[in-house]
Amino acid sequence: MHENFGVFRRERQMEQQGEIVAGLRDRYERVLVEDKGEVFNSDLTQAIELGFLLDLAECMVVAGIERKESRGAHARPDDYPVRDDENFMKHTIVRMVDGVPELSWEPVRMTKWQPQERKY
């Protein structure tokens, strides 16, 4: 994720990352917890957290590929270098349904601050 899913994202790299995460998931099925103790078992907590990280990584991959624009910390300089308020002024929602990420969108509620292009 560090290499393929930073601020600057490229379609090919994002798809590649999807495969890497899937491969890691396979390995995670066989995860080993060496520490069998009951006190401050950070081996166990790390193994549990790794599962959550993989969930999150999978969600990021799906959402990142689908957002075909550049916005904030999601920049696609090669294919979609500008912000697209018309199509993507919306929240990305990803739900895990039967172990598969399911993508949906929700509108953004505008309050005090109106959207405008960032210039600096």
Partner: protein, 388 residues
């Protein structure tokens, strides 16, 4: 590089305790925390230690290396590994061990909470309705205390807490000073009363270990000194420690030197001093004090009196005066009186100039990672020991 570590393992559920040695391959930039990660990932997954930020800001990875408290993430291993020394890693002191390098922080947090570490409301809002602003001068008083990350290294090393576990301790008292010295806090007197009671500031033994081991330069002992100064200014001086300190001032401004003959009665009171008459007699016998307690005045007493006058007139009493003194001492120490940095580093016996990437290096000697971590005095003293 090859790194060897000895780690004290402990399991509180079984009571098993063992010193185990690990040999690992680590990158040259590795810190102690990086090395522990390698041990856990590749050698023994059951090793327990706390960590989070890896960059000296969360205060999770306090532990002992060769018996001295350090932040694992701040301790570079290059020089130690090169020297061939095998450091012993153990959990922090003064707190019960739960597992391996993890201590029970509950007693620590209980004292922290007893400080009521938040601003007690009651200050007046500025007339212009904007935020309350603090002058730089007042900010300087609590600047160091505000740097504390609650890692517990000072508590681990505290000698006073070793003999009295109820002692509030360096971390809590430094936190207390952070609020006592804040002009917005409305509970200054209540706080000082609390810190002046039993197990409070005057129980500190002034060993300065907390100053030495603090990885963030908080200098908790200085905070305790500031609390003492503030207490005396506010008239909270019933403790023997306060009376003792006050007598030093009183005797230097009246006679220009310390009147030791009266130190015990002035500190403990005359009644209890009578019980120490035997001790007093032996002092006289060994020529430590004069037999007749009539004070004589030093020749240049007016210098001492003028100094005291200066402090009073400029209102430099309490913590403010303490910080002023620190600044003056720092200037003497680091020689900023008109000297350039080049001149300072060229002085005889000066510490080597820290290596910076922009400086041109002599080609023969590549910089070691250890040199980048700052002047030798800034790091925990123990890092230098393996070489000795």
């Amino acid at each position: 590089m090859q790194v060897a570590l000895k780690i004290w393992r402990y399991d509180s559920s079984s009571g098993e305790r063992a010193l185990k040695e690990y040999e690992i391959e680590a990158p040259e930039w590795a810190t102690l925390l990086d090395c522990l990660d390698i041990v856990k990932d590749q050698h023994d997954g059951s090793l327990a230690y706390r960590k989070s930020c890896r960059m000296m800001i969360c205060g999770s990875c306090g532990m002992r290396m060769d018996g001295a408290a350090v932040l694992a993430c701040k301790t570079r291993m290059y020089d130690i590994a090169q020297s061939g020394h095998v450091p012993v890693i153990s959990a922090m002191g003064n707190l019960p061990i739960r597992k391996d390098l993890v201590v029970d922080m509950d007693p620590f947090w209980a004292k922290f909470n007893a400080m009521k570490p938040w601003l007690q409301p009651g200050y007046e809002r500025p007339e212009d309705g904007r935020e309350y602003r603090i002058s730089q001068e007042r900010m300087n008083v609590i600047h160091k205390e505000a740097l504390c990350i609650n890692c517990g290294c000072c508590v681990s090393e505290c000698n006073a807490m070793e003999s009295d576990p109820e002692f509030l301790g360096p971390q809590a008292l430094a936190k207390g000073m952070r609020f006592v010295g804040d002009p917005r806090d409305a509970a200054k007197i209540e706080r000082l009363e609390q810190y002046n009671s039993e197990h409070g500031i005057w129980d500190c033994t002034r060993c300065y270990f907390c100053n030495q081991r603090c990885p963030k330069g908080v200098d908790p002992r200085d905070a305790i000194a500031k609390l003492g100064a503030e207490s005396v200014v506010e008239g909270i001086d019933r403790d023997m420690g306060a009376k003792h300190a006050k007598w030093f001032v009183r005797s230097s401004e009246t006679t220009g030197w310390l009147r030791e003959e009266e130190l015990i009665p002035k500190t403990q009171g005359y009644v209890s001093a009578i019980k120490q008459i035997k001790f007093g007699a032996s002092l006289v016998k060994h020529g430590k004090v004069r037999p007749i307690p009539f004070p004589h005045t030093a020749k240049d007493v007016n210098e001492a009196r003028n100094l005291r006058k200066l402090v009073r007139e400029q209102d430099r009493q309490g913590a403010l005066g303490h910080v002023q003194g620190e600044h003056a001492l720092a200037k003497l120490d680091h020689g900023h009186a008109g000297e350039s940095l080049e001149e300072i580093y060229a002085r005889e016996g000066a510490a080597p100039r820290p290596w910076l990437p922009t400086l041109e290096e002599p080609a023969a000697e590549p910089p070691s990672p250890g040199k980048k971590t700052g002047p030798p005095s800034a790091g925990p003293g123990i890092q230098e020991e393996p070489k000795a």
